[in-house]
Every structure is written in C-alpha cells, then in structure tokens.
C-alpha cells in the first residue's frame, strides 16, 4: 500500500464477480507522509483514506467485472462509520459486497476489519462510465496489475 499514490490494495484473497463479492488484504505502511500530518506524533489512518480503501476494493471488483474496460469511481457515500483507530503497519481485511446493480451505477456494502474487529463500514454508490481517455485506461490497467492474488485463478 502506498497511501500518497492512492495505491490501496495489496492482495486479493477472494473475488466472485457474479456474486459481487470481494475480499482484499492491505497493510498500512509504517512510514508515510500522511502519518506525519495525521496526526503529529500520533499516526493513525485518516477516515477519508479508510473510505478510499473500501471504495477501491468494491471498485476493483466492478472494474474486473467489466473486463477492465470501464472506469469506476465513487459517486456518493450513503453512510460511513469509522469505529476504530487504524495504526501504521495494521493488516486490513477489506470486504465489499455489491448489493444493487443499476444502469451506470452500483451500490456496495463495504467494511474494513482489523484484528477481527470492524474498524470502518460504509454504504457507497459507485459510478461506471467509459474511460475519459485511452491513456487513462492503459495506466489504470498498468497500476492495478501490481495487485497480487492469493489464488492465481483470480488474476
């Protein structure tokens, strides 16, 4: 995970495209400029980045469902709660479940679990559109190719 580059997902543990379910493991870095400011001498993962991690997990699932051909991004947050502080080096178990497939939008229930406890959960709306440019599409494919998979079949 590289917070400052918004590369949030490390390893896909489970992914069922038809069922709309994903589970991803991500480890927060020990050092990051983010932690220097949030907060000085008391580093914890900002809630907005917890939300981004959950968004990326569900977004990645949809991106793969659309064969990497469509651009998926956060449209709105219906609900979000940040229940535990997450420290540098924490292993995050990120879960996403698509609960509704609309036309051009999807709704997901997502959560972030640390040491068996829910650190954050949210209901989000993801928008699906065509990529704005061919370059953006190629670059996202390149970036996401760095994500690893617990089971090679998922790749």
């Amino acid at each position: 995970m590289r917070l400052e580059y918004f590369e949030m997902l490390d390893r896909v543990e489970e992914m069922d495209l038809a069922a709309g379910r994903i589970r991803v493991i991500a480890t927060t870095p020990i050092n990051s400029p983010v932690f220097e400011g949030h907060f000085p001498k008391f580093p914890i993962l900002p809630g907005v980045l917890m939300l981004e991690i959950m968004n990326q997990a569900s977004g990645y699932l949809l991106y793969r469902r659309f064969n990497r051909e469509r651009f998926v991004f956060l449209g709105s947050v219906k609900r979000a709660k940040f229940r535990r502080m997450v420290k540098p080096g924490a292993i995050l178990d990120v879960r996403g479940q698509i609960t509704y497939d609309g036309s051009g939008f999807h709704i997901a229930e997502t959560s972030l679990i640390v040491d068996g406890e829910v650190a954050a959960d949210a209901e989000i709306v993801l928008i699906v559109q065509d990529f704005p440019t061919a370059e953006a599409k190629a670059e996202l494919a390149r970036r996401t190719s760095e994500i690893t998979f617990a089971d090679p079949v998922l790749a």
Partner: protein, 93 residues
C-alpha cells in the same frame, strides 16, 4: 392503488426533499425541481425497487448525448412516468 405519477412524485419528494406540491406532471426534474445527476441516481434506485424494473439510465443518457432524444423525453415527470409504464409493461409481457 397509486398511479405511476403519484408513486414517482412521492419518491422524488422523499429522496430529494422537495415538497410534493411542487412536483407536477409537467415539471422538469433538472430545470424546475433542481435535481442533479447524483440525486437522480438515488431517485432511479428507489424507482427501480418500487416498480421492480431497471431504468436504463445509461442508454437514456447516451441517446440524449447523441441527439437521438431530448432531455425532456426522460426528465419531464409525465414523460418519466410514461417510460416507467413502458418498462413495467415490457417486464410483465
């Protein structure tokens, strides 16, 4: 049993916090009611659930963008109701 218009007006009112009295058949969702695209997604989600259909919002948007349909064809409330009636009829056919 509520008419399509009554149900749609109720959904718009509850979803977007617009007084029910302002939602008339001739009201334009964007120009008159001030509903933006993200609010409209919430309305579409609620209408999908209410009527058991999947409103083809992407197709509609594409048709408007390509000049094959006007914004009014889909976003004036009475026209939206007519499209919903067509989708419900197609589903039960």
């Amino acid at each position: 049993m509520s008419s399509t218009f009554e149900t749609v007006a109720q959904v718009i009112s509850e979803t977007s916090d617009i007084p029910l009295a302002n939602i008339t058949p001739d009201a334009h969702a964007i120009d008159d009611l001030g509903i933006d695209s993200l609010d409209f997604l919430d309305i579409v989600f609620a209408l999908d659930k209410k009527f058991g259909i999947k409103i083809p919002l992407e197709k509609w948007t594409q048709e408007v963008n390509q000049g094959q349909a006007s914004v009014e064809d889909y976003f004036v409330v009475k026209n939206l109701c007519a499209r919903i009636d067509e989708l419900v009829a197609a589903k039960s056919a």
